[in-house]
């Protein structure tokens, strides 16, 4: 009992030991790969059957007696099937071996087949792994330590695998029934316990005939011949299309046609002992579209290269394909149709580099191509035009190199540094570098890799070393590369821009500028300065000055009172290098020693808000004439004084306009100029009063021809004399993008009070210099115009002399059919009581009170039809408007009469008509008679020979732009349409140091009156031609001031109270 227990413990101990060994072996062998297949529970079974024989003829050292058991392997098998029964043998040992724990251990179990309680058996099993491929030198090394296990009746023994390619030696010894046992060595091949690994490296080749050859490789651990099975199906459709069996690792797939992506798989099986199939291989996704043979071509300049394109898509025909070289169509003459599915193209590369070939199909205006393309590498050196620019602006010095390359090519940027100057590099070394024969030691690659970019930045380099840089085309086996460039970073520095700019515009027309150079680079720098007047923001016309070698410059400028925007850049003084970027802009300061003398002359445009809540007033400034450079004007101050005592001011830049809301009844604006030393003392005032206006112009005429508009007018009374007239008109310009649409901008002009005639002209500068009169004399239309005007003037005089009754008859005679005439439509002639109703209130002809400030507008619409089409377009851009006063010298008006631009389009009309104008005469209001506010009536006059004049009592402000458009479309306007009336009082004050002067200025302040004349086309005798009004130029003329400031003050005060 004790011995049984001890044996049991021994067996258990042996098992534990073996288990530990096995575990140890597994851990040790886990890195060993390449097992011959997959373990799937296969077993090796054998039966060792023995019979008792005489031992005389046996040299058996272990025999104890004369007889011994001689054993033979009776049955062995692989697989899971049970072995067959022993056939007639008395004593047999069943042997079962298998792999355990993922091929780490080989375990054998031996049991006496007929073991019973009476048998006395003692068996010893010896297991040893032996490498299958041994040579003479390693034969001993290929054997693992022997594992011996002993027991009675049943023994389990295991040994650890040390390699994948091994066999096992199994030796059974011991005794059966007290007789020694003699058994042969048994060898178990481990491959018999595995199933093969699936094939690998699946791929396909395409022949130039278009045949698809699918190929694969056996698993590297495979040692035996295999046969194969191939199956394929369309992706997303798991139904297998076909299964092929072959005994070679390739197959021709001839029945594939494009229709998606195919999935192909292969499996293998041992050819001689076909136990089990391997698993299916990893799926191979076969997307057959267009294949190129070869896929890559390495050629030389001048050599021909032929590429075949195999069309797997059965919908494509080889005769219809188009070959493209780098995306450009190749001439068809270079194609060759091999068969219905194969096309070939032959190209000859001229220069080294990289090209692509694509076989495409016409697709409308484009070409349908697959993403595959053939790559053509042409050996040699190509010019990549590599340029480098070094930079010291960052913490580390850096150098950025840029190059040109084909968009199709992927290149690597390589460089090598030398610890010497580029000039010192021997010629031989340069030549070797160009030939690509130098060693690759010390060669580095752009850290950013071979990307789709065309630049690389090297950081942390030495500015004083020499660098060789070049490109290598990826995939060209190093044989396609660019010409190397030797670069010295210090010769290619782009410095930082200068800093700390200061600039002053001096009265002597000098713009002096100073700046600070960058710290690095250390060498001497040169500088370039650019400047532009700071107002010219929209269209910067920089002027360049330099280069200069010192960090300062003095530049002569035209205007000493202008602030200039200044920028500076720098580069190496002598030697190569790059210009820096322009520095940050700096606005020069203007030096002045005194405050400005005068404020700007200005006028106003009044625009009513649609809701009627407030009124927008836009001040239009005349440029301040260049006067004393010691008194430069840097800006304007608009001082507001509203009724109620509110006073405030706005600082504005020098500009052409300024807009504010007018809410109060009386609002006075004073505009002052200022600079760093103070504001101007002599300024213009404008008082806006919501009061009726009155007219004081007796008549107003305007005649236009091709280039000029002649204006003339007369006042009701010359006493008191106005301070000045203001002429305001709208410039019409065609709006870009809007077909024929016109947009207007208001222009104005101040005219001396003594002026009664004015000519406003547009001409090129050259013509103006030649002679304005010359143009008129050469223009037959102008002659005709003068004759007509003279005739009309005579008729007008006659008409004025004729009595009202006579005039009434004449008017009624000329009244056309009311249904066809715009102005007549508005009139109810049956209700009229004499011409007074037509021409307005008769009292207006004699009344022009000083107490009531009335504003009347003279409105003249000028229809110009000059032959302007022959004008030079360039000269049209330079057209100027200029004025001519026949009686007065306009230049005496404090510089307020400068040339103004006028768009040519406003004068452009049909060339067949002469420069006729439509003139409507104003109702004339006398100064010394009060006039009540009257609603506007359209003029009923026509410029007929009878010389009618209108009794226009309009109270509209001439500065009311909305009225302009209505005037252009008289048929659509209501003659009784009431308009807001505004009144402006303009003063010139002396807010000077001396109070006396200020008081005096109040005494001489003038009063403004506005005269209104409504328009009717003079030449529009037939009222049906009113459509011509669309090309007219409406004018508001003239406005003037009187010296009756005292009455004005009183009136304003009364009204505001």
């Amino acid at each position: 009992m004790l011995s049984i227990l001890s044996r049991f413990l021994c067996v258990i101990l042996a098992l534990v030991v073996n288990l530990i060994i096995a575990l140890h072996g597994e851990a040790a062998l886990s890195p060993v790969g390449g097992w011959p297949g997959e373990y799937q529970g296969f077993e090796w079974r054998a039966q060792l059957c023995c019979e008792l024989r005489s031992a005389l003829n046996q040299s058996f050292s272990h025999s104890r007696g004369l007889h011994l058991y001689q054993c033979h392997i009776q049955n062995f098998t692989n697989g899971v099937e049970a072995s067959s029964e022993s056939q007639g043998w008395s004593d047999c040992l069943d042997i079962l071996c298998w792999l355990e724990d993922k091929q780490a251990n080989m375990i054998c179990y031996i049991k006496h087949h007929r073991a019973d309680a009476t048998s006395t058996n003692h068996l010893t099993v010896s297991l040893q792994a032996v490498a299958m491929e041994l040579d003479s030198q390693t034969s001993e090394m290929g054997r693992s330590p022997r594992s011996q296990c002993s027991g009675d009746g049943a023994i389990t023994c295991s040994v650890t695998l040390h390699a994948s390619d091994v066999s096992f030696s199994l030796v059974v010894s011991g005794s059966l029934n007290d007789h020694s046992l003699l058994a042969p060595d048994m060898h178990i091949n481990v491959h018999q316990l595995y199933k093969p690994h699936p094939p690998v490296n699946l791929h396909y080749n395409v022949s130039t005939e278009g045949e698809v050859i699918f190929e694969w490789s056996d698993s590297p651990t495979s040692r035996y011949p295999l046969n194969y099975e191939i199956r394929y199906f369309i992706q997303h459709f798991s139904q297998t299309l076909e299964v092929l069996k072959v005994q070679h690792p390739w197959v021709a797939l001839s029945s594939l046609s494009f229709g998606g992506r195919y999935v192909v798989q292969v499996r293998s099986q041992r050819l001689r002992e076909p136990l089990a199939w391997s698993d299916w291989s990893q799926p191979f996704y076969l997307a057959l579209d267009v294949s190129y043979i070869p896929t890559e071509v390495l050629t030389r300049p001048g050599d021909e290269a032929t590429v075949y394109g195999v069309l797997h898509n059965h919908g494509w025909a080889a005769s219809e394909v188009v070959w493209m070289l780098n995306g450009q169509v190749i001439p068809e003459s270079q194609y060759k149709v091999v068969n219905t599915r194969v096309s070939a193209v032959t190209v000859r590369s001229k220069d080294p580099g990289f090209d692509t070939l694509m076989c495409c199909l016409s697709w409308g205006e484009k070409y349908k191509c697959s993403i595959a393309y053939a790559k053509v590498y042409t050996e040699g050196l190509f010019d990549a035009n590599i340029t480098c620019q070094s930079d010291q602006r960052l913490r580390d010095d850096s150098m950025t190199c840029k190059w040109n390359k084909s968009a199709w090519a992927v290149v690597r940027f390589l460089y090598r540094s030398y610890k010497k100057m580029c000039e010192e590099i021997p010629h031989e070394e340069r030549s070797m570098a160009q030939m690509g024969e130098e060693s690759l030691s010390g060669v580095e690659e752009c850290p950013d890799g071979a990307g789709d970019f065309r630049e690389c930045t090297l950081r942390g380099l030495s500015l004083f070393s020499c660098y060789r840089v070049w490109l290598v085309v990826e995939g060209g086996h190093g044989k396609v590369r660019s010409l190397p460039v030797f670069v010295s970073p210090v010769e290619n520095v782009k410095p930082s821009p200068p800093s700390d700019l200061t600039a002053v515009t001096w009265p002597n027309k000098t713009l002096s500028t100073m700046w600070k150079r960058p710290y690095l680079p250390v060498y001497h720098l040169q500088y370039e300065l650019r400047y532009v007047a700071s107002q010219e923001v929209a269209d910067l016309q920089w002027k360049i000055f330099g280069p200069v070698s010192e960090p300062w410059a003095a530049v002569l400028v035209q205007d000493p009172c202008v602030q200039y925007k200044v920028e500076v850049r720098c580069r190496r003084f002598e030697g190569s290098g790059y210009w820096s970027d322009w520095s940050e802009s700096h606005i020069s300061s203007v030096y002045s020693s005194k405050a400005p003398m005068m404020g700007p002359d200005f006028w106003r445009v009044i625009q009513e808000d649609n809701a009627g809540n407030f009124t927008n007033v836009t001040l239009l400034f005349k440029p301040i004439p260049a006067a004393d450079p010691e008194r430069c004007v840097l800006g304007l101050v608009v001082l507001h004084q509203a009724s109620g005592g509110a006073v405030w001011s706005d600082d504005i830049d020098l500009g052409s306009f300024y807009t504010f809301h007018w809410k109060e009844d009386v609002h006075t604006i004073t505009v002052m100029s200022h600079n760093s030393l103070g504001s101007s003392g002599k300024n213009s005032n404008l008082t806006l009063v919501r009061q009726p206006k009155r007219r004081c112009v007796r008549w107003f005429r305007a005649v236009a021809n091709a280039t000029c508009v002649s204006l003339s007018w007369a006042l009701v009374s010359e006493q008191p004399s106005p301070f000045s007239f203001v002429i305001e008109w709208v410039e019409l310009k065609e709006v870009a993008g809007l077909d024929g649409s016109l947009a207007g901008s208001i222009e104005w002009l101040r005219v001396p009070p003594t002026t009664r005639e004015l000519q406003v002209c547009r001409m090129t500068t050259e013509l103006f210099k030649t002679a304005k009169l010359t143009i008129k004399s050469n223009d037959p239309a102008a002659y005709m115009l003068l004759l007509i005007i003279a005739f009309l003037s005579v008729v007008l005089l006659v008409t004025l002399i004729v009595s009202q009754n006579q005039m009434k008859k004449m008017i009624w005679k000329d009244v056309p059919n009311p249904n066809n005439c715009s102005w007549a439509k508005r009139m109810d002639f049956r209700m009229l009581d004499g011409t007074e109703n037509v021409f307005g209130h008769p009292e207006s002809l004699t009344a022009c009170p000083l107490l009531l400030i009335s504003e009347s507008i003279c409105e003249v619409e000028i229809v110009e039809k000059p032959p302007l089409l022959a004008l030079d377009k360039e000269h049209e851009q330079e057209n100027l408007l200029f004025m001519e006063s026949r009686r007065d010298n306009l230049t005496t008006m404090d510089g307020s009469l400068e040339p103004l631009s006028l768009d040519v389009s406003t004068a452009a009309a049909t060339p067949e008509t002469s420069g006729q104008s439509s003139v409507t005469y104003s109702a004339v209001l006398l100064f010394d008679q009060p006039v009540l506010l009257m609603k506007q009536q359209k003029s009923l006059s026509s410029s007929s020979d009878e010389g009618n004049f209108s009794a226009n009592n309009s109270d509209i402000s001439g500065s009311f732009p909305g009225g302009l458009w209505e005037l252009e479309n008289p048929s659509g306007s209501d003659g009784t349409n009431p308009r807001n009336s505004y009144n402006s009082v303009e003063e010139f004050s002396e807010i000077s140091e001396q109070e006396d002067e200020a008081l005096e200025s109040k005494q001489v302040a003038k009063e403004l009156y506005y005269l209104g004349v409504n328009d009717e086309e003079e030449e529009n005798e037939d009222c049906e031609e009113e459509g011509e009004a669309g090309r007219s130029i409406p004018l508001y003329l003239p406005q003037f001031q009187t010296a009756a400031i005292k009455h004005l003050r009183e009136t304003v005060e009364n009204n505001t109270l």
Partner: protein, 173 residues
């Protein structure tokens, strides 16, 4: 007793800060941020296409090509967005180093933002995997990086344009 007051105060302060930190980002802000990122990528792709004027005569794309990378993938929520961007990203990563490098960074940033957003909404985490078929395709066609990159970026541009019109899906997983 007095020492309790500052303790209480600081604990309250910490609680408030924690609460503030955990406050959800306004939905409009998230939408705007995602839209801005998507527009940035769209514009960068457009610039890339404009600079690479080699495909103006060609039609490279077809429905049979790369179905895994379809620009018509439905936008169902954050999960699908992240998955689709991940697929595009794997294609871009198959290109040589340096190709579309900034775009990779931009897409990665957008992807991370959407993932973080999904986490904040307690969405189930989905492990991004590249389809075997896509891997195989890239293995076989990765050498045609110019055309492959063009197709991928073209589809990504279309997908992001669609995404910017469906930003309401940022609220769902």
């Amino acid at each position: 007793m007095y020492f309790m007051t500052p303790t209480l105060f600081y604990s309250c302060l910490v609680s408030m800060l924690t609460l503030c930190h955990g406050l959800p980002v306004p939905a409009d802000s998230v939408k705007n941020f995602v839209k801005m990122q998507a527009d940035n990528i769209i514009t960068r792709i457009q610039r890339h296409k404009d600079e690479l004027q080699i495909f103006h005569k060609m039609v490279l794309d077809s429905p049979e090509l790369l179905p895994e990378l379809s620009s018509d993938k439905p936008i169902e929520g954050l999960g699908s967005m992240v998955d689709t961007l991940s697929t595009f990203q794997s294609v871009l990563h198959s290109l040589p180093k340096g190709h579309a490098s900034q775009l990779r960074v931009d897409i990665s940033a957008l992807q991370s933002f959407l993932e973080e957003r999904a986490r904040s909404l307690q969405c189930t985490h989905r492990k991004a995997t590249t389809e075997k078929t896509l891997e195989a395709f890239l293995k076989d066609n990765g050498t045609y990086h110019i055309t492959l990159g063009h197709v991928a970026l073209d589809r990504l541009q279309i997908y992001l344009q669609k995404l910017t019109r469906k930003l309401d899906h940022l609220k769902t997983c």
